[in-house]
Amino acid sequence: MTRRSRELETLLLAMFAAVPLYFTYAISQLSLVLFHLFMAAVVVRVALSRGPELLPARMMRWLAIAYVPFYIVDAVFLSRSAIAASTHLVLFIAAYQPVESVHRSNHAQRILTTALIFIASLATSTHITIVVFVFVFAFFVFRQLMYLSHQETAGVLGRDYGEPPTAKAALFYLTGAVALGALLFPLLPRLRNPLVRGFAGPLAGASTALNDTINLNRRRTTPQDATIVARVWIEEEARPYFTPVRLRGMLYDRYENGEWKQNLRGLRQVSSRGGIHTIAHAGGIERAAIVQLRSMKGKVFLPTGTYEVKGMQTLYEGAAPETYYTYDDPPLTLEVRLSAEPRPLRPSHLEMSGYPISPAVETLAHTIVGDETSVSGKAALIEQYMLRNFRYIPNDASAPPKSLERFLLFDRGGHCEYFAAGMVALLNATGVPARIAGGFYGGQLNPLTGYYAIRREDAHAWTEVWDGDRWLTYDATPASLRPGAAQSNPLQVYLAALSDSATFFWDRYVLTFGLGDQISLFTDLFTWVGESSSKLRERMSAATGHLARDASTLLVVLVALSLGALLFRRRRRRAFDFLAEYLTAQGITVGPAMTVEEALRQLRMQHPEAAVELEPLVALYEEESFSSSRDANRARALRRKLAELKT
C-alpha cells in the first residue's frame, strides 16, 4: 500500500462512515450531500496526485474559525438539535483535516473523527444491514490503526516507511474482535440511568398508517408498505383460538361532526405488580404470547384478548379507554397473557356512538336482524349479511369518498373502515352499543421462527360489540380480501421468511436485548449448569454406585492440588515480595509493574555495595522465575539465599 492509496483509503473511510446517516435522517440530507461532494473532490485530487488542498489551507482555517459561531446558530435555529449540530461539526472537521494534513501529520485525529461519524451513524441506525456496515468499517479502521502503529514505531526509531501490515492481518483481527465483541455484547450491563434519559429518540419510519379519527368523506389510502411493525408468537395449540392475530391500538366509539373519534379522557397509569400490568379480567381459554413491537409513537398495539402484559416499565391507558401507551424506548418485547373471553376492568362508553341513523339505515338494520334479540345474534346476522352482500374495494384512490349512508344503501363496496363503521351503524340502529377497532390483522407466519410478522400494510379496522359483559369482535370485511390474504409464490415466501428470521433475530436478540434478557440468560445458564451436574451425578451414581464416593475423594484431591499449586505460586510471589521489601528498605520503591532487575539498576546507582551483594540473588531469582525448566537445586539455593538475606 502506497502513501497515496492509504490517503485515499482514509478519505473514503470518512465518506463511508457517513453513508448510514442518509437512511436514518439524523441530519439533513443537504449537509450530507455537501460533505460527500467535498470529500469526493478531495479524493479525485489525491488520486491525481495533486494533494488534498481543495481549498487553500488559510481559507479552511478561516472557515473553521467561522464555524464556531455557526455551530450555535445551527443548534438553535437551523437543526434545532445539539446532536444534529454536533454531527454537522464532526463532518466539517472531517472535511477540514485532509487539508490540514498537508502541513501537519494528523492521521490519528482523522481516524478519531471518522470514528465519531461512525458512532453517529451507528447510534441512529436500527436496521440489520448496519451489521455489514460495522464489519466493513471495522476492517478498514483496523488496517488504518495497524498502519498508524507501524508508522509510529518506525518514526520513533527514525526509520523509513516500511511494509505496513496487510489486509489479511486486519481480517484476522476483525474476526477476533467480532468474536470477543459478540461474547461481550450480552454481558454489558443494561442498567439504565434513571435520572438522565439519554439522547436516543423514537425510531423513525414506523408509523401505523392509522389515523386518530376516521373520516369517510376524505380520500384514504393504505400504503403497500411491507415494513414489519410487530411480531407475535403464539404457541401452536393456542393458534385456533387466537389467530388470525388482531393487534388493537385504536378504538373509535364516538361519531361527531362527520368523523368517527376516540373518546379521549387523558392518560391513566396502569399499575403493575411484579412487572405485570393487568388490563382486563381473564375469561375462557388462557394462553401466553410474545409480542415484539416496533415503535408506533408510543402506542402499544396488543392482541385482542390480552389481559396481562409484562415487559414494560410504564404503561398508560389512554388517551382513549382500552388503548395503551408507553414511554419505554422501542422496540419492545412483551410477554402477554391472552384469554378468549376477556372482560374490561372498567367498562366505559357503553352507549350508542352518536351516528345519525337515517330511517333507511334503520330499516335495513331491522330487516337484517329480524326477530333476533340477543346481541351476539344480531351482530352475527349483520356480519353475515355484509359478508355476503358487500364488496371489499381496497385502496380505491381513484374513487371519490362517499358517505356511510351511500356505502350501506347503494354502493355496498368500500374498504375495511366502511365495513367496520357500517356494522356499528347497523348495530346502533338495532340498539346495540358497538365501536370501531383499529389496528393490524393477520400477518404472515414465519415457519422458521414461529412468529407472525405483522406489516404496515396489514392495517385494518373491525367492529367490537358490547354484549353487556364484554366486547365481542366481529369483522364484516370479506376474509379473503382482508390484509395479508394475497398469495405469493413459495420461493418468495421462503425468502421473505428467511429475511424476516434474520431481522427477527436482530430485533429480538440485539435491538431489544435488555436487562430482563440478561437475567434470563444467566438464569438459564445456571439452570443448565445445575441440571447438567445433576445429570452427571445421577449417571455416575447409576453407573458406578460406590464410585460416587471416590468422585468425592477425587474432588477433594483436586481441590488440595489446586491449593498446593496456589501455595506454590504464592511462594514464588513471596520471593518477589521479599526482594521488593528488601529493596524498599534500601530506599528503592518497587512498584507493582516494576521488575526486580529494574529496581536493582536503581539500587546500583544509589548503593553500589548493596547492589553488588544483591546481584547474585537477583540473577538466581530471575533464573528461577523465567526458566522454562524446573531445577530443585536452584530453587533450594534461592530459598537459602533469601533466608540469609532475611537474617
Partner: protein, 355 residues
C-alpha cells in the same frame, strides 16, 4: 535514533492513541448505558473486544519470542561490534510485527518488521560494550505496539550470551602518531639477544646451550667460548602490564592503563611488529602475520591485583602500570613491596619506554 521513547518501567503502557481510544470507549459506554441503545452497545462491545484482543495479541506475541545473540567475532570496548540477533516466534497463533529490541548491549534499537508465527528472523545488529572483559548479556527487552497501537507492551527476553570484550583501543590519527615507534628504533639494536648475526663472545656460563658454543675460538683459547647473537629488536616490542591497583586508585585508571597498552599493541601489530606481552602469569607473543588475539584476550581478562605482583622487567620493555615513578630499568624487579615508586607510569606514552 533513540530507544528512550520505548523504555519504561513495568510491562505495559497506554499510548496516546490507546488513551484516546479508551476515553472514546468510555464515553460511548456511558451513552449506551444512558440510552439503552443496543446499537451503541454493539459499538462498545466491538471496541472493548478490539481493546482486549489488542492486549491479548501483543502479550501473546511477545510471550513466545525467544532471542539469541551471535555472530560477533572481535568485540572491542567502546566500538560497535556487528553481530546477529536471532528472534524465534514459537506462537502457533500470533504473528508479531513492529517489534523493537533494546538492550544495554545493543548500540541502537533493532526493529523487526515481522516475526511470523513459528518463524525465525535473523537481523544484523550493532552491539556496544563499554568495558573490556567477559560481558554477559542476560536479557534484551522487546517492545511492540502491534496490532493497533493502543498499548506499548514490553517483555524481557532471556538470552544466554557471553562475549569477550577486548580493551578499548584508540584509533584516531593523533593516537596513531602518539604510538608511532621513535626514530632509529627500526634500525639494528646493537644489543645481544635473539637473532642470527653474531654480536659478541663471552665465557661459558652454567646452563648455556652447547649449540651456542663457538668451537673455533674455544679450541684456540682452550676454554669454552660462547657466541652471542645480535638482538633483532628493530621489529619487535616488549610490553609489560602491571595489574597492581593500589587501594584508593579508581578503576578507571587501571582501565585507562590497560586501554593504553592495548592501543600500543594494536598499532604495533598494524605496523607488522612482533609483540611480546608480559603479564604476571604469562608471556604471550604475536609474531608478524600472526593474530594478536591471544594478547588482547589476555588483556581483556586481566584482573586488577590488590597486592603488588613481581615481574621481571627486561631491557627495552615498555611497562604499563597505574603507578607513577621514574621508571624501570632492564633487569629491574617490578616489586612494589620493595619500592612502590619503581613501577613506570607509562600511560601510552612512548617516551616512557625504557632501554
Amino acid at each position: 535514533m533513540s530507544s528512550a521513547a520505548f523504555e519504561f518501567n513495568g510491562v505495559v503502557r497506554f499510548t496516546k492513541i490507546g488513551t484516546t481510544y479508551l476515553a472514546a470507549t468510555m464515553v460511548l459506554a456511558i451513552s449506551a448505558i444512558n440510552t439503552g441503545n443496543n446499537a451503541l452497545y454493539i459499538g462498545v462491545a466491538l471496541m472493548l473486544g478490539s481493546l482486549l484482543l489488542s492486549g491479548i495479541a501483543s502479550k501473546g506475541g511477545l510471550k513466545h519470542l525467544h532471542a539469541e545473540i551471535g555472530g560477533m567475532e572481535e568485540v572491542w570496548a567502546g566500538r560497535p561490534a556487528h553481530g546477529t540477533l536471532r528472534v524465534r516466534n514459537e506462537s502457533r497463533i500470533w504473528n508479531v510485527r513492529d517489534v523493537v529490541i533494546t538492550s544495554e548491549a545493543l548500540a541502537e534499537p533493532v526493529l523487526l518488521a515481522e516475526v511470523q508465527r513459528r518463524g525465525t528472523v535473523e537481523v544484523d545488529a550493532a552491539f556496544l560494550f563499554p568495558r573490556r572483559g567477559l560481558a554477559h548479556v542476560h536479557s534484551v527487552d522487546s517492545y511492540t505496539r502491534y496490532p493497533f497501537g493502543f498499548f506499548l507492551k514490553k517483555r524481557r527476553l532471556r538470552v544466554r550470551s557471553e562475549v569477550l570484550v577486548y580493551p578499548r583501543v584508540s584509533t584516531g590519527e593523533d593516537v596513531r602518531e602518539q604510538f608511532r615507534p621513535a626514530p632509529g628504533e627500526e634500525s639494528v639494536a646493537n644489543l645481544p639477544g635473539p637473532g642470527s648475526e653474531i654480536h659478541s663472545f663471552r665465557e661459558y656460563a652454567r646452563g648455556d646451550s652447547l649449540r651456542h658454543v663457538h668451537w673455533k675460538k674455544s679450541a684456540s683459547l682452550g676454554r669454552w667460548i660462547m657466541k652471542q647473537t645480535e638482538a633483532e629488536s628493530s621489529s619487535s616490542i616488549h610490553v609489560l602490564v602491571d595489574p597492581y591497583q593500589p587501594q584508593g586508585t579508581p578503576d578507571d585508571e587501571l582501565e585507562q592503563m590497560i586501554s593504553s597498552a592495548a592501543t600500543l599493541i594494536y598499532h604495533a601489530v598494524q605496523r607488522d611488529l612482533d609483540v611480546t606481552l608480559s603479564l604476571p602469569s604469562t608471556t604471550l607473543r604475536a609474531r608478524q602475520n600472526q593474530s594478536a588475539s591471544p594478547l588482547f584476550r589476555a588483556l581483556a581478562l586481566l584482573e586488577a591485583s590488590p597486592v603488588p605482583v613481581h615481574q621481571f622487567v627486561e631491557r627495552d620493555t615498555i611497562v604499563f602500570s597505574v603507578m607513577t615513578s621514574s621508571g624501570a630499568k632492564t633487569g629491574d624487579l617490578l616489586g612494589h613491596e620493595r619500592d612502590s615508586s619503581l613501577g613506570t607510569g607509562i600511560t601510552g606514552d612512548p617516551a616512557s619506554r625504557r632501554g
